[in-house]
């Protein structure tokens, strides 16, 4: 595909200049990484670059730009393709809004305490790599940038390398990233076929046959799915994401998982040709299982940042379910339903990037203020960090899909798509959609429990450690970053109808049709899924209702009430205890949930060691949980690899004679194979 005369739209030109600015920032920071005053310029440059790139991608999304060109770099003959379409633009918007807010947060970081000398050169490089993945127009560029993204984020994960836990996390992450990229390489190999043309346009022109497309699908789900954190491949994610500095965790969890989803959408919805209904099955099965499993992990965990990482796993599950539904509907020719499912998926990608970044930034503020992220050392921070607490509450309500915030919009759309399930011609899909709906409903309820627990333990109650008691409010830039994200969560929740109409051209491309009834609701801001008689969600009206009823409540109560308030000690049924240890802890909060769900999912077992009367030994209570995903899919293969390498170790200590013998026999075997084959 040489010599295609692509045009370069102005949006692409501006986007590229923003990306170039990231590169400049990275090189600049790498050159001056010993100069603290020079490093202070890195985050401002990133903010400018992110603002420029985000603006350009929003413009490209609205204008449904198709633009690109070819550079004489990369693979010989094929060259390096750069392209920008609505799909890339949408995800570029996600990435750069994430970079924008986390860079603002980064400006408030304490340089000595947060080790940003190790972080600052790689932060823009990481942003650059994620942007490059999105504008790559061929498999080589895609995989190269993908690997760059993995490596730069790996450096950020191990930036606090003195902690053994972080080194372990970095190791697992690196291995998983390598396996994932290898799997994607395999998928692209299948896509390019015998002709070996890796440009996306060439791949699109010649879709692979049914067997190859199945293999490509498996490779893409494994490669991109492991990056996104789909169960049971997720085990690296709750190790790696929390290990990075918090603003990088926000990028990894909020944004990089979306880049992985972009890769999956690009391959499955764009390059792989006409979908077949059974492609949806792995998405639906994995997604539904991941959604519930991720939250069960989250609700039993004790580390603030790890809880957030597990919740990312859950949200990726929801996104997978949306992708599966969209695929199934499109393969069945139900384009309107496919558009609803795809709109839910895309909006959830955007929404999750906002509230997960917000929650991670808040967790970073807590970590900075107290030095702790374990639930047993936190508590009562709403008094000491009121601003962070308020924004975190917004994030927690958004992620729990509570109105009027944005998480509910995508959740609502997804349930509307599930409700179109009876139209499936395939009986398997018709049976699966209510099951998927039940899992989604379970996940939604568990999310609320998980985030009530997280917010309640961290911010409410009494401080459980001296560090928490002496916490201070976070710096101003960090408050600004959180305020921006919280504002986006609220706006996204109120104006879901507007956001849906902005992605209509993209839905046309991906689902085969735009949403059928956008703008036909009772008010211009209503969100309508299929048609107004069937389903409406009107967030602005509900918000106005909430305002009215709230105001009326305040007026009524204050009109007739005494308004007298007396401060006194806590009542606690007459037996308040001054020790904060008598509060409900994170593990006591999750005990009922562990009893209900834990025994089946994690093989949870409790042992009580109660000394006999007269024995002065302390009583002990232990809970054992099994992480089957880790034990079966990570620990077991790792042991096998280790055993095998120990076996092969013997090969290092042979005599020259034996080596020559081995080489000679290998040659004979290869020649024999060649003789038989050809």
């Amino acid at each position: 595909m040489t010599g295609v005369d692509y045009s370069t739209a102005p949006q692409l030109a501006i986007l590229l200049s923003g990306i170039l600015l990231y590169a400049v920032a990275a090189v600049f920071a790498a050159m001056f990484h010993r100069h603290k005053s020079a490093l202070a310029a890195v985050y401002p440059i990133c903010i400018i670059a992110a603002a420029v790139t985000a603006g350009a991608s929003l413009a490209a999304l609205l204008a449904d730009t198709h633009s690109g060109f070819r550079l004489p770099l990369g693979l010989p003959i094929i060259g390096l393709h750069v392209k920008l379409d609505a799909l890339s633009a949408f995800f570029s918007l996600i990435v750069n809004l994430g970079v924008l807010t986390t860079a603002i947060y980064g400006m408030g970081l304490d340089r000595d305490r947060d080790l940003s000398g190790r972080v600052e050169p790689f932060f823009p490089a990481y942003a650059l790599a994620m942007n490059l993945v999105l504008i790559a127009g061929d498999a080589f560029g895609f995989l190269f940038s993908w690997e760059l993204m993995s490596l730069t984020s790996w450096v950020l994960v191990v930036s606090h390398h003195r902690d053994a836990g972080n080194r372990h996390a970095g190791h697992v992450y690196l291995v998983m990233a390598a396996i994932g990229t290898a799997s994607l390489l395999f998928a692209f190999g299948g896509l390019a076929g015998a002709s070996g043309n890796y440009a996306f346009d060439a791949i699109r022109a010649v879709p692979p046959g049914p067997l190859v497309s199945g293999l490509v699908l498996a490779g893409a789900i494994f490669g991109a799915g492991s990056k996104a954190g789909i169960a049971p491949l997720h085990a690296w994610l709750p190790l790696a994401h929390p290990a990075a500095p918090s603003h990088v965790s926000a990028l990894m969890s909020g944004v990089m998982t979306k880049v992985a989803i972009y890769g999956l959408i690009r391959i499955v919805f764009d390059l792989l040709g006409t979908p077949v209904w059974w492609w949806a099955l792995p998405f639906l099965l994995l997604g539904a299982a991941t959604a519930v499993l991720g939250l069960l992990y989250a609700v039993l965990d004790h580390d603030l940042k790890r809880v957030l990482a597990y919740s990312t796993v859950e949200n990726i599950g929801i996104i997978f379910v949306g992708l599966g539904l969209a695929l199934a509907f499109r393969a069945s020719g139900l384009t309107a339903a496919a558009a609803v499912a795809m709109a839910a998926t895309l909006l959830h990608c955007l929404n999750h990037s906002w509230f997960k970044s917000l929650l991670f930034l808040g967790a970073g503020a807590v970590l900075h203020a107290t030095g702790r992220r374990d639930f047993d050392g936190l508590g009562g921070l709403i008094h000491r960090m009121p601003v962070t607490a308020a924004f975190w509450l917004v994030g927690a309500m958004s992620i729990s899909a509570l109105p009027p915030f944005n998480g509910f919009v995508s959740e609502w759309l997804l349930f509307q798509a599930v409700l179109a399930g009876p139209q499936f011609p395939e009986p398997i899909l018709r049976f699966m959609s209510p099951a998927v709906g039940a899992m989604l409903a379970l996940a939604a309820a568990l999310a609320a429990a998980c985030f009530v627990r997280a917010f309640g333990i961290v911010y409410l109650g009494r401080p459980r450690s001296n560090e928490a008691a002496g916490a201070h409010e976070t710096a101003r830039p960090q408050q600004v970053a959180m305020a921006l994200l919280a504002g986006l969560c609220l706006l996204g929740g109120l104006f879901g109808g507007v956001m849906v109409s902005a992605i209509q051209p993209l839905l046309q491309t991906l689902a085969g049709a735009p949403l059928p009834a956008v703008g036909t609701g009772p008010t211009p801001l209503s969100l309508v899924a299929f048609d107004a008689a069937r389903s409406i969600y009107d967030a602005p009206t509900i918000a106005i209702f909430l305002l009215i009823s709230g105001t009326l409540t305040v007026m009524l109560v204050h009109r007739i009430s005494s308004r007298r308030t007396r401060l006194g000690p806590a009542w606690d049924c007459g037996f308040p205890d001054p020790s904060p240890l008598t509060q409900y802890s994170a593990s006591s909060f999750s005990q009922p949930l562990r009893r209900v769900y834990g025994s089946t999912v994690f093989g949870a077992s409790e042992t009580v060691d109660m000394p006999q009367p007269g024995d002065n030994r302390a009583a002990r209570f232990t809970v054992r949980l099994h992480d089957y995903a880790w034990e079966l899919l990570y620990a077991a293969p790792a042991r096998a690899v280790l055993r095998m390498s120990e076996r092969l170790n013997a090969l290092q200590f042979l005599t020259i004679r034996t080596y020559l013998m081995l080489m000679f026999s290998a040659l004979i075997v290869l020649l024999l194979i060649a003789a038989v084959w050809f």
């Binding site: 709403i382 709906g437 109650g461 969600y537 009823s549």
Partner: protein, 321 residues
């Protein structure tokens, strides 16, 4: 324009109607329970008196309570009130019935519950934590069951808008549908759990080991407690209205009938509410409270019923349409 105003008027009537009758419905339930126990019982208007008494008293707030503790009662009442105002009660097709469909209704109640659970954890007492933790455990089973019930109804009627579901069921030929029966059982179990009624929770006890709802609100007093109680009573009315709207919508004034049909609709609605409250009282005296850790199985049963209901609805949908 005139029609819009009329519909707005109807919506306003409903908003205040649910607020006014909510304590009375709670009073009826208590009265019925008392009579079954061969007690005289408090008069039906006792909950109104209690509310007024609470509002007039001063509020005692724990020293280490945060802004969340003080503002949560207003928000909880607002969320529950909006939800109760948007469920079709005496007439369908009021001004803003369309604004929140079945899914949004669940989410509004979910928001109120999350805020209540947070308020329970705010002071940092063991009782508050126990209540919040159990409430959220119950919610993880009750909320999906309720969502599935509502999705089943939405599938049957072809819409998630509650007024349309009600109208569909009024106009549809009366047939026994297994999926609807299962959905009804599931929704009743959910309603019992969500309203902290026996056998899941006992609204009349302050026995430490068994409290759920009462443990969460233990630190509240005065006007704050009044708002929490009001929200709980509104929630009871909401659930009875929802069951009535989904399973016994007969007598509801249809959307195009205009205000002339409202008085009849309102009378029928009130009769149904009173019957529902009396049935609840009768149910509560006839059964014992179960241990907290049996609740999981009880609500798991509701979840399974709801799942079977939606599965049947999915499979038989083709035949119906």
């Amino acid at each position: 324009m005139r029609e819009t105003l009329i519909l707005l008027f109807g919506q306003t009537i409903q908003m205040f109607l649910v607020l006014l009758i909510a304590p009375g419905i709670a009073g009826i339930t208590r009265r019925v329970k008392a009579r079954f126990m061969r007690r005289q019982g408090a008069p039906i208007i006792q909950p109104y008196r209690d509310l007024i008494k609470l509002v007039r008293k001063e509020s005692v707030v724990a020293q280490n309570a945060s802004w969340l503790f003080r503002s949560a009662p207003y928000a909880i009442l607002a969320f529950t009130w909006v939800a109760a105002a948007l469920v079709p009660t005496f007439a369908s097709g009021l001004m803003f019935n369309w604004a929140a469909d079945a899914l949004a209704l669940v989410a509004l109640l979910g928001a109120a519950r999350a805020l209540l659970a947070l308020a329970g954890m705010d002071v940092g007492t063991s009782f508050g934590g126990i209540g919040s933790s159990r409430e959220m455990m119950i919610a993880t089973l009750a909320e999906p069951a309720m969502l599935l019930v509502l999705l089943t109804m939405a599938l049957t009627a072809g819409t998630t808008r509650l007024p349309e579901v009600a109208e569909f069921l009024i106009s549809a030929p009366i047939t026994v549908r297994v999926s609807l029966a299962l959905a009804l059982v599931a929704l009743i179990i959910v309603a019992l759990a969500e309203n902290a009624r026996i056998p899941v929770d006992n609204p009349a006890t302050h026995l430490e080991l068994t409290m759920v709802h009462e443990a969460m609100v233990l630190e509240y007093s005065g006007r704050h407690l009044a708002m929490i109680e009001m929200a709980a009573q509104l929630k009871l009315v909401l659930y009875i209205s929802l069951i009535v709207c989904l399973f016994l919508p007969f007598g509801m004034a249809p959307a195009n009938a205009g205000p002339a049909a409202w008085p009849v609709g309102m009378a029928v609605y009130l009769v149904k509410l009173v019957l529902g409250a009396a049935l609840l009282g009768a149910w509560e005296v006839s059964i014992a409270k179960m241990r907290v850790f049996r609740v999981g199985e009880f609500l798991g049963g509701a979840f399974v019923f709801a799942f079977l209901a939606i599965l049947l609805a999915f499979v038989t949908r083709e035949v119906l349409n």
